[in-house]
Structure formats: structure tokens, C-alpha cells
Symmetry: C2
Subunit: 306 residues, 2 copies
């Protein structure tokens, strides 16, 4: 039995997964702050999962983390939401669990999980709409990373030279139009769920909100289009915080894709609106993906020293 | 010894390549029109190559063709510049040569050739700037095609919602700004080398030409940026007819990439201007790539029946 953990900014999901990929246990915990807090959260989550499933017979642990993970490394860096600038997470966790540990960027882990949830046979992009926008790409069953690990950074492709400035410094980036932080900043009225507020205000006829909501759909549709035109994935699965908007978001994106296809035989032939879908609400795709990745770890790579 | 052939709209390149990838002979012929003309051109080119290299000991033939080639198929379709709507090229050529024949889209063949010319170790995109704009992507030494063969169709990614209408029906596509046909149409003054005329007129201060030339640089830079941000290739090698402009084109593109990086730590860290280069003028990259692909053919796939 494998364990997969998705460490988020506020909550941590942990799943127990059989070797054939079935999730047999799932718990959710608040995430504690900082490197030590994250380690404790993970160790506690594994213990709770052991209790929940009635077994301690875990063989591997995979951890999805925000920030950068150098392929094959045990170190996570730039996980700033968690108060981690650079930390050797696997080496800290493995001895306490007595299990081999592998870590992966959370978006890439979610891509692997989404791929498994889709049946494992299609090339797929997982498009994460959270504070920022990024994609994980799975081709031939494996995450495609690229030479420097920036594959899937579609959030910083510009689609409008006159669009808003992005936190990356560019202008009209997809993230500047569809990232949760960018939408909240452009909306400028605070609130716990600013993107939901924008959608509600747009429904109520607020012209600013309608513009922002149209920009979200336009940018997400552009991300879908460029992932298909560049990598030609069979499906684009959308996840992340913004998918709490559910069908309201998906309907907007599909309408935008259909509008683009109406003008273009070529785009119409790609059937983009049919290739995009939302991850099911509450789906522990990133934790599942982490479990799968953890089970692929070469034992010598991150040995258990517990 | 392998033969590689690149069938272009006006000329056909043929190379003889040793098994270790060294080009030992290269000839160029005018391309005859239509399916029968293309077959004759290919057969004649192989005969000429045999004379040139003093050997007939060829073991395989790979052919790069414009249009669509279904992976593993022997059929080319939509090679409209050659007067071919749909034709089983390999089955027509193989018996006349008595050799196994494999066909591939010419941009994908050029990507394989460019990859070999770069030493074969880097993930690479070949960006073809011809009548249209398309890329071939080589990852882990293999062409990445995607599920429907549209991988690399970056020419139809829109980078400007207010840009010119593309022949695909979209607006502001990369091809609508940087494709040779689109530039010629926007320039509207005829001439044998309209893109060169635009560059010359821009140098002479013509404001329309300066705008068109700036659009070319902006769109090519956008293609480089999105190939790196999506697939994270190590290098983008630019080829095709527009590269006859040489350093004038490359300098514009690099300046555009550097201008984008100046505003963005993230983009600057990608060193995009250093990752882009032009294919050497006259380089038979597509023919070389076709030779490599031809040598990979499973013999039972397209048997010689001569």
C-alpha cells in the first residue's frame, strides 16, 4: 500500500492507495506553518491514515508540494506559501516514517493523479487555476518536465499585448487574466472568495465584474488551446481553487472555445470544447498522483533510514 | 547508407547519410508537379545520389513531405503546393527503388535533422518560418506528435486579440503575423521576395513596413517563448524560407526576447535569447532528418517490393 500526500497552503490531503491505484483511505488535515510544521503535518497524516485504513503496511510515500522540486532531488524550494525557501523535505521525513519518500511539485503530482483518474491511457494536461496558473503535462504515462523544469508554465504566455501587467513582469499573461491573485487584485474589493464574488457580480450585471469574468474565460480557453496546439494532449483537466466555481466556469470556457472554433475550420476540427473538463470537486488528484510517483521511487534514491 | 529526401514546393533535396549520421552526398533538383511528378523526382534524385556518391548500396529511404502524414502510414495528404490531395507515396516509390521507404511531414523531419545537427543530446523545437508557421518538437530524441498529430501547430496560437485575421479564421495568430503568405498579403505590393522587401523598406524608414517587420519579430519571439514555457525545450532552431533574412531576422527576434526579459525576472531566468538560433543557410536538415527516420522504419512496415 502506498501513501500519497498533497501539502497545500491551508490543508493537507493524504490518501492510501493500493498497488493497482485504488484509493482505499483519504484524510484531510490543516497544514502547519514552516518546514518543521510541514514535516509534523505529514508524519501525523500518515499515522492518521494508518488508523483509518487499519494497516501500517505502507511501502512508499510520495509528497506533492507547492514550489520547485528539482527532478530526482529530495529538496523543495520557493514554497513561499508554506514559509519554506529551501528545505530537504524527503530527508527530514523519511527517517521519521521509516519509508522511502519521493517529492514532486504539486501541479505535476496532480497531473499524474488526473491521468490515473482518466484511466491512464490518454496524453493529458492538468491545468491548475489557483493563486497562479500552471499546467502539468503527462505524455506516454510520464510527466514531461523539460530541461529546466519549466514545462507547463503556460501562465506566463502572453495572449494580449494590451492586457494587464503580470506579477512576472510581462503583460497580458494568462495568469494576469485568470490567476486567482490577479483577479482579486483587479477586482480590488477584498472578500474571502474574490473570484466567486466577481462571478456573482457579473451575473448581477456589474460591468467591471463582467469584464473580469470574460477575461478569465478568455485566458483559460487560450491555455487549453495552446496546450493542444503545442503538445496535442487528448484532454485538458482543469483543477485548483477556481474549479469550486464548477459549471459556471466550465460553461464560460466552453463557450469561449466554441466561439473561437466557429470562425475556424482548423480549430473546430480540434474539438477543444469536448476535450476540456473539470476535476471532480474534492478529488484528491494531487495526493493520488503523489502516491503513484512515490511508488516509482528507486529505493536507492531516497533511502529510508528510520 | 541511408537516403533522405526533402520534397519542397519548388526544389527537392536528397542526401546520402552514413549509419552514424554523416552526410556524404547532397544534391538538389527542381520538384515536378503532382503525384507522378513527385515520384519521378524522388526516383531520379536517388539515382543521381548514387552516381554522386559512387555507390548504390542504399539500405533505406526517408522522405519529408509538406502536408499531413498519419504516423506509421505510407500516405501523404493535403500537400496542396505539390498538387497532391491524398496519395500513397511510399507504396508508389518503394517498388521503383527496391528499398524500404518511410515518409514524414517535412517540418517534423527537419526537427529530427536539426536535432542531429545540434549533436543529438538536447530537447529541441524546430520552428519553421515559411509560407506558414509550424514547429516540430523533439523530446528524448523522438518527434513528439500528440494524439492527433497537431503537436507543434504553434502558428495558430493567438497572441493578440486585435491582430490581423489568420487564414485559419482566428485573429492575431502567430502565423497571421509571421507567416510569409500573411506578411506578403499585408504588404500587398507583390514582388518575388515580399518579406525581404518589407525588411528593406523598414530599413529605409517606411512606417507600414516597420510595423510589419516588428510584428514578425514579436510573433517569432512569442513562438519561442511559448515553446519553452510549454514544452521547455533547450533550444529553438529556426528554419524555413524566412531564414534567408539571416542575422536581420535573428537580431530582431533576440531584441524582442530581451525586451520581454528586461521586465521579468522569470523570463530573464529562461535565457530565451540564448536558446534561439537559425539553421545554417542551405542546411539540408529536413533531408537529413528524413534519412534518420527512414533508417528507423520497421522493415515489415513498408516493405520493398521492387
Amino acid at each position: 500500500m502506498r501513501v500519497g500526500i498533497d501539502v497545500g497552503g491551508t490543508k493537507t490531503d493524504a490518501v492510501a492507495v493500493t498497488d493497482d491505484g485504488t484509493v482505499v483511505g483519504h484524510i484531510r488535515r490543516p497544514t502547519a506553518w514552516g518546514a518543521a510544521g510541514v514535516v509534523d503535518t505529514i508524519v501525523d497524516a500518515v499515522a492518521a491514515l494508518s488508523t483509518r485504513t487499519g494497516t501500517g503496511a505502507f511501502t512508499s510515500v510520495g509528497i506533492g508540494m507547492p514550489g520547485q522540486v528539482v527532478p530526482g532531488s529530495t529538496v523543495v524550494s520557493h514554497a513561499l506559501n508554506l514559509g519554506i525557501e529551501r528545505f530537504d523535505l524527503a530527508r527530514a521525513v523519511a527517517p521519521r516514517l521509516g519509508l522511502p519518500v519521493r517529492i514532486e511539485n504539486d501541479v505535476k503530482a496532480a497531473a499524474v493523479g488526473a491521468h490515473a483518474l482518466e484511466g491512464g491511457s490518454t496524453d493529458l494536461a492538468y491545468l491548475n487555476l489557483g493563486t497562479g496558473v500552471a499546467a502539468g503535462i503527462v505524455v506516454d504515462g510520464r510527466v514531461h518536465r523539460g530541461g529546466r523544469g519549466t514545462a507547463g508554465e503556460v501562465g506566463h504566455v502572453s495572449i494580449d499585448p494590451h492586457g494587464p501587467v503580470c506579477r512576472c513582469g510581462g503583460r497580458g499573461c494568462i495568469e494576469a487574466l485568470a490567476g486567482g491573485a490577479a483577479v482579486a487584485e483587479r477586482w480590488g474589493r477584498g472578500g474571502m472568495l474574490p473570484v466567486r464574488d466577481v462571478f456573482d457580480a457579473a451575473d448581477a450585471g456589474d460591468p467591471v465584474a463582467r469584464g473580469l469574468r470574460a477575461d478569465v474565460a478568455r485566458a483559460v480557453a487560450a491555455a487549453v488551446r495552446l496546450l493542444v496546439l503545442t503538445v496535442d494532449v487528448d484532454a485538458v483537466v482543469v483543477g485548483g481553487g477556481l474549479t469550486a466555481l464548477g459549471d459556471r466556469l466550465l460553461a464560460d470556457v466552453r463557450e469561449e472555445l466554441r466561439a473561437g472554433a466557429a470562425a475556424s475550420d482548423f480549430l473546430r476540427s480540434l474539438a477543444l470544447a469536448d476535450r476540456v473538463r473539470l476535476l471532480a470537486p474534492g478529488s484528491p488528484a494531487a495526493a493520488l498522483g503523489a502516491a503513484i510517483i512515490g511508488g516509482q521511487a528507486a529505493p536507492e534514491e531516497v533511502p529510508a533510514r528510520g
